[in-house]
Amino acid sequence: MIIKQLSVFVENKKGRMAEITDILAKNDIDIRALSIADTTDYGILRLIVDNPQKAQETLKSAGMTVTLTGVIAIAIPDKPGGLSSAVKVLSEKDIQIEYMYAFLNPTDDTAFVIMRVENEDNAIDALTKGGIRLMKEEDIYTI
């Protein structure tokens, strides 16, 4: 249930995103989902890819600061209140969300939400009990 996500430290420099995505492309790594959070000086790029280990090694050998972390992915109905009910389950259990990002499922009317929480196991437990559908690793990598 825990999905591997890459976090890459990126300086705010012209062409930097192009370089990173180019490295991934040349190594035949497919980006499944992406989010970037930036400050004035740098950003953190979060990536879900089809082959996280390979992507990590590739970026690391290109000299980047990169880390592989566990996140969880849930599938929620793509309608008003869909996200709110899932997040409520976590807040009721006092589980903090560090960050999250979402994208639509191209094949049906659900949306996927990737979230980073402090304790994945507790979150998975709470979400499962709350009736929220969790995505498996292979499901996400091959969306």
Binding site: S7, V8, F9, V10, E11, A37, D41, Y42, I44, G63, M64, T65, V66, T67, T69, E98, R116
Partner: protein, 424 residues
């Protein structure tokens, strides 16, 4: 005084000084013995070349009073440098030293255009720093009205300036500019201010910045030079012609040397300024290496003064930076970063002038990805670097995280400083 009169006075005082140091300062006694330079060896002014140099480290190694030549009962005052590179350098003054110092400042401020008609606000920070009290007593000596406002509290400074009809300002160039900006914002017409003269110093000032200050205030600005180790302000200063800073040569012998070979350079060539204090009783210094780069000319100035003149300081022979009046060595930054977790050993310093103040940015490489999951951890890194820098430098710096290997690597001598202050 003719050049030859100046030189014979200098020789007489140099002989007396070397003997005085030899007899009263164990440090010099040992040093002169080791160099084989007994006081009798000084027969001409050029014999000064046999005397070993004194360095800032010698002052620091002998903290606090090790280089004093006279018992504490004769010391009338103590000043100290900010001590950003470890122990501060401490200097003492006897009553005569204070008298001479005031005399020297009186001369340079007179040359700059101050007189008993002058109402001068001293906006240097008072305290252990030599600047404020140095100018204070020198200006009092010429009969000026001294207003010791110290630095800060700019609105009040400006109120006094309007109400007292202050016509001269002692400040750092950047504070003088800042005050002008505040004066504009406050909205009183500039005709409410009566400033005519700026005696600015204690940090570098390019001709462009001087023009800017003059235009902002409608004043005439002169530069002066001194460093706390040799007395403070007053060693030299510009006259109204501003063709170099007149040196008080009856109190100092100034040489320029090649900082690498340590050879004395002929008059007129640029090199590191080396100063010998001829009259100081409390802490006399023989051939003190200032690390400041300048050029000295003995040509007579058109103002009529015959004293030698030095150029405005061109730079440093070491890598010291002066940022907002604080001395910063890149090695200090390095010592702040050593042992810090999650960042690499490379760093870069970027100094800029933003508005009226110098800013320091320190760039370091983030090498540990484990902190990317929590912004608080990332911020924690920059915060802890910042607080270490503040402790060591006494200065707030901006800390920027960079990607690994993004900072330039150097083969041989590293150039870690990017000083953009004089770039347009």
């Amino acid at each position: 005084m003719s050049r030859s009169d100046i030189k014979s006075l200098q020789l007489e005082r140099l002989k007396r000084l070397v003997k005085y140091c030899y007899d009263n300062v164990p440090f010099y006694h040992k040093k002169l013995n080791m160099a084989g330079v007994l006081p009798e060896k000084i027969k001409t002014l050029s014999d000064i070349q046999y005397i070993p140099y004194t360095n800032k480290t010698d002052l620091r190694d002998n903290y606090p009073f090790g280089l004093f030549a006279t018992p504490m009962k004769n010391i009338a005052r103590i000043h100290a440098s900010s001590g950003t590179t470890g122990k501060p350098t401490v200097v003492g003054y006897t009553k005569n030293d204070l008298e001479n110092w005031a005399e020297m400042v009186a001369r340079i401020t007179t040359a700059a255009g101050a007189s008993d008609e002058t109402i001068v606000q001293i906006a240097f920070g008072y305290g252990m720093f030599t600047g404020a009290l140095g100018l204070h007593y020198g200006l009092e000596k010429i009969g000026a009205t001294v207003v010791p406002t110290s630095s800060g509290n700019t609105e009040k400074q400006l109120m006094f300036m309007r109400d007292f009809k202050t016509n001269a300002l002692v400040a750092t160039p950047s504070y003088a500019l800042y005050m002008a900006e505040c004066a504009k914002e406050l909205g009183y017409p500039m005709s409410d201010y009566h400033l005519k003269l700026g005696i600015l110093g204690s940090e570098g000032c390019t001709p462009e910045m001087r023009d800017q200050i003059e235009a902002a205030w409608g004043i005439f600005v002169t530069d002066n030079y001194g460093l706390s180790e040799i007395c403070g302000p007053g060693m030299s200063g510009e006259c109204h012609l501003r063709q170099g800073l007149h040196i008080n040569e009856d109190h100092f012998i100034c040489e320029t040397i090649d900082p690498n070979t340590l050879e004395v350079l002929p008059s007129g060539s640029e090199g590191e300024l080396v100063v010998t204090t001829l009259t100081k009783e409390a802490i006399p210094l023989l051939r003190y290496r200032t690390k400041d780069l300048t050029r000295i000319t003995e040509e007579k100035c058109e103002c009529g003064r015959t004293t030698a003149r030095m150029d405005k300081i061109k730079g440093r022979s070491d890598d010291m930076l002066k940022i907002r009046g604080v001395n910063v060595f890149p090695s200090q930054v390095e010592s702040a970063l050593v042992g810090m977790d999650k960042i690499g050993p490379h760093y870069q310093l970027i100094v800029r002038r933003e508005g009226f103040a110098d800013t320091l940015e320190v760039k370091v490489e983030l090498i540990d990805g484990s902190v990317l999951e929590k912004y608080s951890e990332l911020e924690g890194i920059t915060r802890s670097i910042k607080s270490r820098l503040r402790t060591i430098l006494g200065l707030d710096a901006k800390v920027t995280l960079a990607e690994p290997k993004s900072l330039e690597r150097f083969q041989g001598k590293a150039k870690r400083v990017l000083d953009l202050r004089n770039e347009k």
